[in-house]
Structure formats: C-alpha cells, structure tokens
C-alpha cells in the first residue's frame, strides 16, 4: 500500500440545495487503500457525495476527517484528491502529455521530473505513442486512460471516480474495469468509485455503499450486501430476487419461520420482525423438482415461461396465489426438467433465504 493513502471518516454529512435535501446524515468510514463503490439509482446523491468529499461543494452539516484531521472546511485545491469526472473533463486544448503534466506543473515540480513521471505513467496506462495527440483524436477508452493517468500522476491520497465507464461499450468497459482494479492494486490509493452498474460494483469493490434518496442504506463487502441485504430496497436493487410475503412469524429451532400460502417456510433467525415479513431468495439459489423436497423449503408453482440465456436458463413460475417466482438454472440442468408437465415444486435450503421487514 502506498504510504500516502488516507482513510476518510464521514460523520453525519448532510447537503441541502435550498429546501431540497440531497444528502442526509451520511456516516461512513472509508479505510486507507480500500476500493469503495457508491451504488444507487439516479438522483440518489452519489455525485453530490463525491463533490462533498472532493471539496467542490461544502457540506451543509456534519464533519469530514482525513486520517483523523478535520478537513470539513478545507478547499478542494488544498485537499487535492484525484478525480475522474463523468465525461473525463480532459483539457481539449492540451495534448495527452500536457494534460497529464498539468497537476505536476501546478505543484511546481522540476521540468525533468515532470517529463519522467509523465512518461512513466503514460507507459503504465498503455498510452505510449499517443503523447502528442489531442483528446478529440483519441478513442473513448484512450480518453479514459488519460483521465486516469492525469488523476493518478500526482499520487493523490484519495481518487474519486464518477461513473468513469458509463460512456464505454460493454467490451471496453470490462477491460477498463480490470485496468482500474490493477491500478488500484499498484497505487494503493483509496478509491471511491460511483457507478450505476451493479455487476461492476460487485466485481470491483472491497466494499459497496448503497444510496437511495440521499441516504446511505447499507455498507458492506459485496458478498454481504448481495447475500444479506438489510432492506427490501437493497435486496431488489442488487440483482434479481424473489420476494414471498409471509405471515405468522415465529421462531423455531432452525431459525425464524413464516407461512406462505399453505407452506411453512424457514430462514435464518431474524429477531426484529413482528407479524408479517417478506422472505427473499435469489433465483440462482432455487431448484426445481417434480416432487416436494425432502429437506428445506418448497413451494408448489406452475411454469409460465422460460428464457434461454446461453449458459443459464431463466424459468418464470407463478405460485397458487399468483406470486411470481424466478429461478435460474444452468442450461444443462434445465433441459430434462422442462419436458415434464407445467406443475413443479420450487425449492431452496433453509440457509439460502432471508427475512426482511415488510416495509423498508
């Protein structure tokens, strides 16, 4: 890890524009050198949060510490966090090399040093041979690399990235994701990354912070957030999920159970529920059989549609009461099931579901 990476402590940060509250009471610890992704729907306050971190916008309330030092009131140019903007914000009148040299010139670094460091980072992001081009003469992926190089060349303690890949096609996106992950490893800088794309968030981050309506709903490792979302919003926002309304909540030896239609369904223990709740299960955690399962949860359902996805198959079911269920199975496994009639059992193990409060 680079010795310059810092941790940020966000304490009760809020931001209002007039009467509109864009951020509300955000409290979050960003560890030195971590790769934190901010994920949330459009308008949830991700960019605003990044702007407050960078110092481009002042927080309306709360405090921001950098390795314990209060920087709430300090200016953006003094914080000097690297930032990659959506659309890159490259200087169109400067060449690639001049763009990358800019933050070093600002720091009054000696000319030879600048040349050496610019050359080094140009090689590192794979832009050798393009030094003298203008941004308009570069492809989208190359512009992206210039933006990354320009933001990293002065070894900022924190790098903020606002949807850096949104303008790239899917293939290029994948390559740039790998590149960013590699640069994160090499530079060891703390990365705070904004995206709309959940698969990007899951594959890149050490932790994900989920935003909605200016609030921070949940922070955690990708796996925790995906498998143990704390609210219905997070569960539905990240990937596909089946939600079964259950009533008559009660605790049993194996965890907590509730009734869905005629079936008693069980999930790991959840203590803060009263009366009714929803049981959430990921489609890939479910299986399909002709007979009721010997172990675990099972719900009778009728097959209403199938979608072929290549390696996997998505099966759409409806339960007796009409609740839709989606199951994804590997294509090889799905084939011989479908030949039998439309009525099946949809099954999953006790551990693979989780209960969530009905309203959240």
């Amino acid at each position: 890890m680079s010795k310059r990476a810092v941790g940020l402590q966000v304490i009760g940060i809020g931001k209002s524009f007039g009467h509109f509250t864009a951020l509300k009471d955000i409290t979050l610890d960003i560890a030195p050198g971590e790769f934190l992704t901010l994920l949330g729907p459009s308008g949830s306050g991700k960019t605003t949060f990044l702007m407050v971190l960078a110092g481009f916008q002042a927080a309306s309330e709360g405090r921001l510490l950098s390795d314990g030092v209060d920087i709430t009131g300090s200016r953006a140019e003094d914080r000097s966090f690297g930032m990659v903007f959506q659309g890159y914000a490259l200087f169109p009148h400067k060449s690639v090399a001049q763009n990358i040299a800019f933050p070093l010139q600002v720091r009054g670094i000696a000319r030879e040093d600048i040349a050496r460091r610019v050359d080094a980072i140009i090689a590192r992001v794979g832009l050798a041979g393009h030094e003298n081009k203008r941004p308009a003469q570069l492809s989208g992926g190359q512009q992206q690399r210039v933006a990354l190089a320009r933001a990293l060349v002065f070894e900022p303690p924190v790098l903020l990235l606002d949807e850096p890949f949104s303008a790239l096609d899917k293939h290029l996106r994948g390559r740039m994701q790998e590149e960013v992950a590699r640069l994160h490893g090499e530079f060891g800088t703390t990365f705070v990354f904004v995206t709309h794309d959940q698969s990007e968030a899951l594959s890149l981050s050490s932790r994900i912070a989920i935003f909605n309506h200016g609030r921070l709903l949940q922070v955690g490792a990708p796996r925790d957030i995906y498998e143990r979302p704390s609210s219905r919003f997070v569960a539905e926002f990240l990937g596909e999920i089946n939600l079964l309304p259950v009533g008559g909540i009660g605790h049993c030896a194996r965890g907590t159970s509730g009734t869905f239609e005629d079936a008693r369904l069980t999930a790991p223990r959840h203590d803060h529920l009263d009366g009714s709740a929803v049981l959430a299960v990921r489609p890939e955690h479910m299986s399909v059989s002709a007979e009721p399962p010997a172990e675990g949860n099972g719900v009778p359902a009728r097959l209403v549609g199938t979608t072929y996805l290549g390696s996997a198959m998505r099966l759409a079911f409806a339960t007796r009461s009409g609740t839709p269920l989606t199951v994804t199975l590997p294509s090889v496994a799905a084939g011989h099931i479908l030949d039998r009639g439309p009525d099946f059992w949809v099954n999953w193990s006790f551990d693979n579901g989780f209960l969530l409060p009905e309203q959240s």
Binding site: A54, F56, A76, E77, D78, S80, F81, G82, M83, F85, Q86, G87, A89, L90, F91, P92, H93, F102, P103, V106, R107, P135, A136, R150, A151, F154
Partner: protein
C-alpha cells in the same frame, strides 16, 4: 442531401433580403467604384494618389492605430464584463445587462454628445475638478485621440460581449473543477484553462470590433473635433467639403476591400470554430 433539397426554397425565402442588399449596397457601391476610376478623368490616377498622398496615408495609419488600440481595450473590457455576466451572481448579471445593453439602444450621436457633455471644457468632469479646486483651468479632455478612443470603446464593447459570452457559455464546468481538484489556483485555472478555452471567442470578438471600428464616423467626428481625422471622416470630407469625388471613392473602395478581407478571415475562423472547437 438535406442541404441540397433545402437550397432553392431557402433562397426564395431570402430573396427579398438579397434584393434589398443588392439595391441598397451593391449597386451604389459599384457606382462609387466606377467614380474612383473615372473622376475627374478615366484611369487609376486616384489610386496612385491614395498611395502617394501623405494626408491620406496618415489618415489610414492613424485609423489603424486608433482601431487597434480601441480593439484591444474594448475586447479586454468586454472579457471582464462578459465573465461577470456569464459567471456572476443574479444581481451582477442584471447590473451588467442594464449597463451594457441599454446604451446599445441609444443612438450613436446621443452617446457621442454624452461624452462631450462629460469631457468638454465646461463639461461635468472639468467643472467638478475646478469646483473641488483640483485644477485651475479646464483640462483639454476632448478633441483628441484619447477621447475618440474612449467614445469608440464605449460603443464597441457590446459587440464584443456577444461572441465572448457564447464562448464562455460552452466552457464545461467540470473542466474548471478538474483543474481545481488537481490543486490549481484560480489564477492558474484562468490562464491555462479558461482563457485558452475561450480563445475562439476572443479572436471572433477582436475581428468584429476591429472591422466595425474601421468604419467609425460619427464618434471620431464629434469627439475628435476635426483634429485626428480617421478614414471614414476623410471620405466624407473629400466627398462633401473639397469636391474631390474620385479620391473619396478610391479611399472607400480600399476600405471596403480591407474590411472584406477581414470578414473573410472571420468567416474562415468561424467555420474552424464550428468544426474544431466544439469540444
């Protein structure tokens, strides 16, 4: 394709304007051009005088000098004014609109006399200075080049504001934020980001102001008081005071060719700005 099919209807719609311009400008100008080679006798004699006559030469040189100074001052002032207009607070914007665009609608003549009222021997400035006891007698503030320059700058600033404003409005805010985030001071951001990004507007404004200033007549005539004669006034004098129509016509033709050349440059530049300066 689209341009082609729209060409004839567009021309038909523009026809009245084209005809008007032809009759109001082109035909009379051709007449003037004809005079320049026929009066008082056929030949290029008037153009020889144009090159040889020290009076004409000094008028051209003075015109260039004054117009250059006026252009530099007007564009620099307009840049500052436009910056506040485009990026200032609501109040500042309103104030600029009032200060810049209201005088725009007041006739040139009125504005020139306004400067006279301000600067003449019994004008507001001189009477105030004397009343305050700062000066004994009146200062010569008009009938000289500086007053002509002041009057012309005043008239020309709004013409520079518009191209500058359109250039400043296209500057991507994120680019300025990016520079700040990299630690650049405000001065640095201005010199190495904002100014270069608005340079097309500066060049456009410079050409427009310079071309307009070349043809100035009313303002220099009133504020110059016949001492620092500029080309347009010289044409007037040759036409109406010392009947020397041939020379007056030749000067006009030279001026028009000069302006046309500059306009060509401007058009070429505008085209470059459209294709290359978009980002």
């Amino acid at each position: 394709m689209r341009n082609r099919s729209a060409f004839w209807p567009a021309l038909a719609l523009m026809a009245p304007l084209v005809l008007f311009l032809a009759f109001a400008y082109a035909v009379p100008f051709l007449g003037v051009a004809l005079w320049s080679v026929t009066l008082p006798e056929p030949g290029l004699g008037q153009y020889e005088r144009l090159v040889g006559d020290p009076l004409v030469q000094s008028a051209f040189l003075r015109t260039f000098r004054i117009c250059l100074i006026v252009t530099v001052i007007a564009v620099a002032c307009a840049y500052a004014v436009t910056y506040v207009w485009v990026r200032g607070t609501r109040m500042q914007r309103r104030l600029i609109e009032i200060c810049i665009f209201v005088p725009f609608w007041i006739s040139l003549l009125t504005r020139a006399f306004g400067w006279l009222a301000l600067l003449s021997t019994r004008g507001i400035v001189n009477t105030s200075l004397q009343a305050l006891g700062l000066t004994d007698g009146p200062l010569a503030l008009v009938r000289n080049e500086p007053s002509v320059i002041a009057g012309m700058v005043h008239v020309l600033i709004p013409f520079a504001v518009l191209p500058l404003a359109s250039a400043m409005r296209t500057v991507d805010e994120r680019m300025l934020l990016a520079a700040r985030g990299m630690g650049a001071s405000r001065l640095r951001i201005f010199w190495s980001v904002f100014l270069p990004l608005t340079l097309p507007g500066v060049i456009g404004a410079t050409l427009i102001v310079f071309v307009f200033s070349l043809g100035f007549f009313v303002t220099p005539a009133i504020l110059g008081g016949g001492r620092s004669i500029m080309v347009a006034e010289l044409v007037y004098l040759r036409m109406f005071q010392s009947p020397d129509w041939g020379l007056g016509a030749a000067i006009s033709v030279a001026l028009v060719i000069l302006v046309a050349g500059l306009m060509g440059l401007l058009a070429r530049f505008a085209r470059l700005g459209l294709t290359g300066g978009g980002r």
